[in-house]
């Protein structure tokens, strides 16, 4: 495979062990541009570790991560994020004592005034860009139904609202690929459908997704392709209907022996 034909995200033989435990064992999979790809598996399958390795929060023992045709294996998390690879966390990681709109503004890429020197010397340009970002952030809050919460500190939000805020940050960050780690965890059924439709809209706007999720109903609604992990390895991949038929998946994940 030449580098020019690589999918948007290409994970190649990535391996990560903690002590003697192989959390991710020589896993290979990919996400193509424009798709929502599901990543499922039982607890301890290595899904969140895989997300950490892709996002750069964790360093793998071996293997490669390619993103947008660049080998990002040695890149730290912030550099991957700047390239358009953004993520959410299994437990919502909003900035709790910042307001909702500050949380969104922080995700804006390439901000003037984000260094000491430019904060002191480029104040006019910084103000102009900040006003543009502010307008965009307000628009996104409206899109995600968070306008009324704009000036509230983020820790006051409910679990579902925090998930919506995370999606708003992803949109503000102009992500090419978003890694969503259990976005429905702790979300009420009422907000669940809202989050599903927001993810669909974001996909339509050009953002691709790798979605780690336990709820197969959500996976079925959103994902065109599903990767199944168990015990640190990729068991299989395919459509949800295909993987339901896979005997190892049925045993390892669905708890059914055939």
């Amino acid at each position: 495979m030449t580098s020019s034909s690589r999918p948007l995200l290409d994970v190649v033989q990535v391996h990560k062990a903690f002590g003697g435990v192989e959390a991710v064992a020589d896993c290979s999979f990919n996400v193509v541009e424009g798709e929502i790809c599901g990543l499922i598996g039982p607890n301890g399958a290595g899904k969140s570790t895989a997300v950490g390795l892709i996002g750069g929060a964790l360093r793998g023992d071996r293997g490669q991560v390619w993103f947008a045709e660049q080998d990002v294996t040695s890149w730290p998390a912030h550099r991957r994020a700047r390239a358009g690879l953004l993520r959410t966390f299994q437990l919502s990681q909003e900035w709790p004592n910042l307001t909702v709109i500050e949380n969104v503004l922080l995700a804006a890429p390439e901000q003037i005034g984000e260094t000491l020197w430019s904060a002191l010397s480029a104040r006019r340009r910084m103000r102009r860009q900040e006003e543009e970002n502010w307008g965009r952030a307000e628009h996104l809050l409206a899109v995600f139904g968070l306008t009324a919460l704009r000036d509230q500190l983020a820790w006051t939000l409910s679990g579902g609202q925090k998930r919506l805020l995370e999606l708003a940050r992803i949109a503000m960050g102009r992500a090419k690929l978003a890694l969503l780690d259990e976005p429905m965890a702790g979300v009420s059924p009422a907000l669940r459908s809202s989050i599903i439709s927001q993810i669909r809209d974001m996909q339509a706007s050009g953002i691709s997704f790798l979605l780690v999720e336990h709820d197969l109903g959500v996976v079925g609604e959103l994902c065109s392709r599903v990767i199944v992990m168990a015990a640190g390895r990729v068991l299989t991949e395919g459509t949800l209907d295909e993987i339901r038929q896979h005997p190892e998946v049925a045993a390892a994940y669905l708890g059914v022996s055939r």
């Binding site: 709790p96 004592n97 000036d151």
Partner: protein
């Protein structure tokens, strides 16, 4: 009145110095969430560097030994004190930020301060060991013909100018995306990195800046007092600056200045003129207990401090009529 003026002027000068120190520590602790338990070591670095740059060579036969003795004119010693303190702050940051965070980071800074204290105390050729440096002349005093007992007449204006400059820098940071990003690091370093923030470089920058400000405070101290020795930078001194920041309001520049007025101006300077009660060391001990008790009470009942964090919003379009405002409540706990 003539006897009260030097007393108030001295207290005012100390308040200026502590206001500068509090703003520097606030950038590190209040804004960025870096727990630097050796902040006062950088005050000491500034004091010693400014001292040996202002002093001439040690007089022969005096028994004093210290490095440099370059007799440099104002304001070079203060500028170099800031640079050297900032440099050492950066070196400490590079050592600790790559691998450590929260409690481990705090303990490591405490250990670094202990090491620095022992080096300065035992290495007599560096800054004259436990006796320290003394006889440091006040800048510009001879130029303006100010008598030695009235050095505050020169140093208060200099201190006020420096305080205004330091406050302006901190205020610009507050108003900028830089300040917002530093707060995001305080609130969650991993999430900040996941949104493209180079947390290591940002923390390094804040350590350098905060320690440079500490160095400036140290330089002003030695040029005001005229002397500095290891007993002046024991660990408790760092906690006095923390007390000013915590009481005033972490994350709020005006709040921490208010904290400096309370801790240094009212409690410390005020207690110097209390009559001796019982043993000679009783009043200073009570003073420290009062400061410690107030910190505990504020942390328990009002963790935002007297003023609380405010966040001026740079990007709010003016036509909307929103300006500087207070954060609408705070959980008041470091949960990042």
């Amino acid at each position: 009145m003539s006897t009260l003026l030097p007393i108030f002027a001295t207290a005012f000068m100390y308040v200026i110095i502590y206001a500068i120190l509090s703003i520097g520590l606030n950038l590190q602790y209040g804004v960025t969430g870096i727990v630097n338990f050796t902040y006062y070591t950088f005050v000491a670095i500034g004091a010693y560097v400014a001292g040996v740059l202002t002093l001439g060579k040690p007089p022969a036969g005096s028994g004093e030994t210290y490095i440099l003795g370059l007799n440099l004119p104002f304001p070079i010693p203060i500028v170099l004190a800031a640079l050297v303190a900032g440099l050492f702050g950066g070196l400490l940051a590079l050592t600790v930020f790559r691998r450590l965070r929260s409690d481990y980071l705090a303990i490591t800074t405490l250990c670094a301060g202990t090491v620095a204290f022992d080096i300065v105390t035992n290495s007599t050729g560096l800054f004259n060991g436990p006796n320290g440096i003394y006889g440091v002349p006040t800048p510009l005093a001879s130029t303006f013909g100010v008598p030695p007992q009235n050095t505050y007449m020169v140093l208060i204006p200099i201190g006020l100018v420096i305080l205004a400059l330091v406050w302006w820098v901190a205020h610009c940071i507050d108003l900028s995306p830089y300040g917002r990003t530093l707060r995001a690091i305080r609130e969650g370093r991993d999430a900040a990195a996941a949104f493209g923030k180079n947390t290591l470089r940002l923390q390094l920058g804040v350590m350098i800046l905060g320690c440079a400000i500490a160095g400036i405070g140290g330089a002003l101290t030695v040029e005001f007092v005229g002397a500095f020795n290891p007993s002046a930078f024991e660990t408790v001194e760092t906690f006095v600056v923390y007390a000013a920041v915590i009481l005033g309001g972490p994350g709020n520049n005006l709040g921490v200045i208010l904290g400096a007025v309370l801790v240094q101006g009212v409690i410390i300077q005020g207690s110097l003129y209390l009559p001796t009660i019982g043993a000679e060391s009783l009043v200073p001990a009570i003073r420290n207990m009062v400061i410690g008790g107030m910190v505990i009470l504020v942390l328990y009942f009002r963790p935002r401090g007297m003023v609380g964090e405010t966040r001026p919003q740079l990007g709010v379009p003016r036509r909307r009529g929103l300006g500087v405002r207070s954060a609408p409540g705070s959980r008041g706990e470091a949960d990042s």
